[in-house]
Symmetry: D2
Amino acid sequence: MSSNTFGTLFRYTTWGESHGPAIGCVVDGVPPLLDLSEEYIQPFLDIRKPGQTRNVSQRQEADQVKILSGVFEGKTTGTPISLFIENMDHRSKDYGDIKDKYRPGHADFTYDKKYGIRDYRGGGRSSARETASRVAAGAIARLILKGVSIEGRVTQIGPHKDSAEWESFLDKIRKSGSSAGAIVEVVAKGVPVGLGAPVADKLDAAIASAMMGINAVKGVEIGAGFGAALLGGEENSDQIRIKDGKPYFLSNHAGGILGGISTGQDIVVRMAFKPTSSILTPMKTIDRYDNETEIVTKGRHDPCVGMRGVPVAEAMLAIVLADHLLRHKAQCGDRT
Amino acid sequence: MSSNTFGTLFRYTTWGESHGPAIGCVVDGVPPLLDLSEEYIQPFLDIRKPGQTRNVSQRQEADQVKILSGVFEGKTTGTPISLFIENMDHRSKDYGDIKDKYRPGHADFTYDKKYGIRDYRGGGRSSARETASRVAAGAIARLILKGVSIEGRVTQIGPHKDSAEWESFLDKIRKSGSSAGAIVEVVAKGVPVGLGAPVADKLDAAIASAMMGINAVKGVEIGAGFGAALLGGEENSDQIRIKDGKPYFLSNHAGGILGGISTGQDIVVRMAFKPTSSILTPMKTIDRYDNETEIVTKGRHDPCVGMRGVPVAEAMLAIVLADHLLRHKAQCGDRT
Amino acid sequence: MSSNTFGTLFRYTTWGESHGPAIGCVVDGVPPLLDLSEEYIQPFLDIRKPGQTRNVSQRQEADQVKILSGVFEGKTTGTPISLFIENMDHRSKDYGDIKDKYRPGHADFTYDKKYGIRDYRGGGRSSARETASRVAAGAIARLILKGVSIEGRVTQIGPHKDSAEWESFLDKIRKSGSSAGAIVEVVAKGVPVGLGAPVADKLDAAIASAMMGINAVKGVEIGAGFGAALLGGEENSDQIRIKDGKPYFLSNHAGGILGGISTGQDIVVRMAFKPTSSILTPMKTIDRYDNETEIVTKGRHDPCVGMRGVPVAEAMLAIVLADHLLRHKAQCGDRT
Amino acid sequence: MSSNTFGTLFRYTTWGESHGPAIGCVVDGVPPLLDLSEEYIQPFLDIRKPGQTRNVSQRQEADQVKILSGVFEGKTTGTPISLFIENMDHRSKDYGDIKDKYRPGHADFTYDKKYGIRDYRGGGRSSARETASRVAAGAIARLILKGVSIEGRVTQIGPHKDSAEWESFLDKIRKSGSSAGAIVEVVAKGVPVGLGAPVADKLDAAIASAMMGINAVKGVEIGAGFGAALLGGEENSDQIRIKDGKPYFLSNHAGGILGGISTGQDIVVRMAFKPTSSILTPMKTIDRYDNETEIVTKGRHDPCVGMRGVPVAEAMLAIVLADHLLRHKAQCGDRT
């Protein structure tokens, strides 16, 4: 709908640039009387925050979240929850060189062409820093999803699916000033059957939008995903049996979603992160006055942004599921 | 937003089941004074319609579109355009057998669990028949996209990327009562730079939602897509030069979108279609009373639904681009 | 949101012009398993339809509604309900004279200036005929509002509050080719406490939008309304007591809404209808080529459109309440 | 849509309670390259803020606005603008008495019944303090409305239309611990013809929603408003002539809006504010445990809230017009 709002009933609106005074978001539609505190949200942000290992951005941020509204005496009130995170370490000097040059593979070019102006300090609005807000919103979404667990993990870094190879590969990438892509998988267990809706509000369509909206993601698949194109119908269709009086499926090629609606099986989503465009190799580019030039990006960046994408992907899945759970309750809640 | 409405400014709302009297949609937000007639829309529907070759569903439908409102003396009036397509050949008798049984891989199970009721004749609302409405809406969207061409094609059927092998492969599939998956690619050329928006309204997120919302699609990727995970930053980042006084890119791994905003390069989208679940092999399943049973689906179906997905994917891309073009004009139109 | 869609969870999208082949709407978000038939909706349309007494438009319309989707074996399926009403008596010849001239007080001028084109036959989209769709949608909304009654009535015609004077006043108006305004009041009884929300989604704001959106309405008030400006706080504030273990109010100046949320008292809404601009007295106007001229409107019109506004106002109130009931259930349903 | 978001393209989302640490809003959809600073917004807030004369609340608030995002080097960037206003003087002790009792005429009762919890300090979210955010958002909306002036004024206090009587009347009201209602009129001059849309997005419907959504407003009318019910069609319909080559109207009973679309005449809106429910007279009420009791509200309140409603009503009108201007540009901008 709006450029910075996501969701229908459970919805957040984010704001803030990487080098402004703060970032944050407003989370609306939260049911009342849920236990909520800054202490509950903080650990989710701590997982995402930079500077924790040598293979992620060395930017130092406390990422301390403050709740400014919507909570009274430790409980949600049903009114909008304003979350606020101060930017501490925004060393703008690092970015002076890219003020007028466009970094290949980065949003510099498109922002400038669209708006005619951009906050060039560290990517401004297009910085992955904005995703801290989504992680905080996702923590609140989880409160609505009782009995649902959502967990993500990196399954591939560059060409390597074996995690034993990752550390040495990343050391090499980091030292050479290069960057690597990654595949991330998120699984939601315990999702009730019936979330989603036909046609324009398919649960998988909402998930695809949520994941493709994460910085650096270039592909999203659910269940068998692109691999489903290789299968025959007999193999791909998940057969159904009864166990302990309940339906269960003999496989999960559907990734937990059929016809846009959750089946009750695990929801399995995978996404591809491109390698970050901030690299030390000089790249051919132009400046905003259409002069050809070269650029080297010297900021503190992640050699593999996909690794830090895990908590963001988890948060986005929680947000989509919480929104659809509320919507399902509205339309079909009397049946259950 | 709503379960059957897609888009913000250019938006359509679809209705109708595969075996009801008719299907259709309401297209809202169309600028006035565009030339529009039934004769203009019909060819787009003719491409999608079934029964044209032996390797698609043999259902016979005229798919004749009627415009019921929003057009006066051959021009759009700016008011909602109601499109109406009668269902001619809805032989319900074919579906009696699946009244109480859930077809594995189909939406039967989830609809029943969500709503407690479903129109079991031919999939009802989950039938691919609904996509005829989207194709018609897409034809109108193209009117807004002057200078933009949108073309899709099948690039893979089952495991075969070489189109010379497709016909014999599909014959084999069809005769054995099985089904095959496919990969479809859609390319939009001539898209202006600047469409889309950061964070919640990224153009790629909207495209991902649109494509994943097409029946049987299980994966979506843009530009290098999942392949981007394998590349280093130097390779993946598209370098920029000037030619004839204009920026151009030395490659297009971004698929025409950076930071959620169009670059002016070709927008390249690929999606994976699963094999249809309607197959002649008996499959283990349950009925709605939780009894274990088997099912064989005998209806007239597509051995490879991906093939008929091409015009739908083209339509959805047109709809997303038209919507974002109008939105861009609203916010940034004074600059251009 | 969109120009022709109203509501968030329970929502309708209308289409059609007064002199096209048909009008209709798509109603989305309806819970499944409600009993719904054409026979149930028809009586609501019969009340609204023209040609029934001498003091309303003499246009003859069967206003026969058809349900094209979303209902299966007499029950709603949870998918969009397409309602279809054919236009029978659209004698376009009556309107030739106003093709190029703007009727003062009518939407001719603004449509032409906005869109550069308009369907001049009978007002096209701005015709009160479109309200038949809303009445049909309102009938469906009532199914969701179990235990709620919604009834409207005319309380004033022209300057006359005493209904005994209305018939002779209207005869005089009609014979002189003039028109009269009216006040309509709608009361909803049995509305549960808690519908609505603070700030942007106040229940009274939604009602105001719904009512002001009815053709010819120029003012809306709730409870004491404009009269509240004359009162002191002691008088206006409704005191609360307990009766039979339940809260009740000693008065209802609030009209059933406090802080944007329903109190459980009767919701009382009043609105002012202007006199229709279609009158036989020659009026000064211009044509679309900016020539000064005069106009007399000879079509079949209502001397007092407010009278036919009653079922429309009832329908709109039902739609707003149904939407907010579903939304309340989503956010706070676990509490009740 | 969401409970705390208003508008489609130009939209704000507000957050914050009267006695929390701060209030604020996020304004989205603002075109880029507009001059914007805290110094520009502040004067609009200064007009609204309390404690300035003896006849308004004596709460002392600096109401100093901070811009936290969306502005770079003095210009809007097209990304969301976060506005932040600290709460300075939130003396919670005044409110201890009403912790469990419901003030008649106030939102206490409905909030508690809806949410089962409320921030009882000063009304929490239902406090008029929230309107500071709307005033700030309105200041930004004005930047989009070049050539449009929007001015409001009180036209009636209690029963008094003559402003000479107001001061003594209010002194009497204040000293007696009572409160008075008021009528406010807002006029927008210079609005271009063509804003708004038929049926669900009528400009007058949006204005009605915006105004009825202001705290304490119980009625809204446009142009002749409720008075239109008394007129005949000849009198009410504004005749049209040409002057200096341009259309002009001989009267403005329509209040600048016909068929939901602006005519280019002055847009004239009036609204009724009820007397505040915070009065010194003991009133019958109940507590949250359903005990009958009495209450006297001792906080620092406005004897006539309508007076402070003027800048809020101006802001809301600016917001509606800015939103519709952008929407009109999107759909019909190529024509103008």
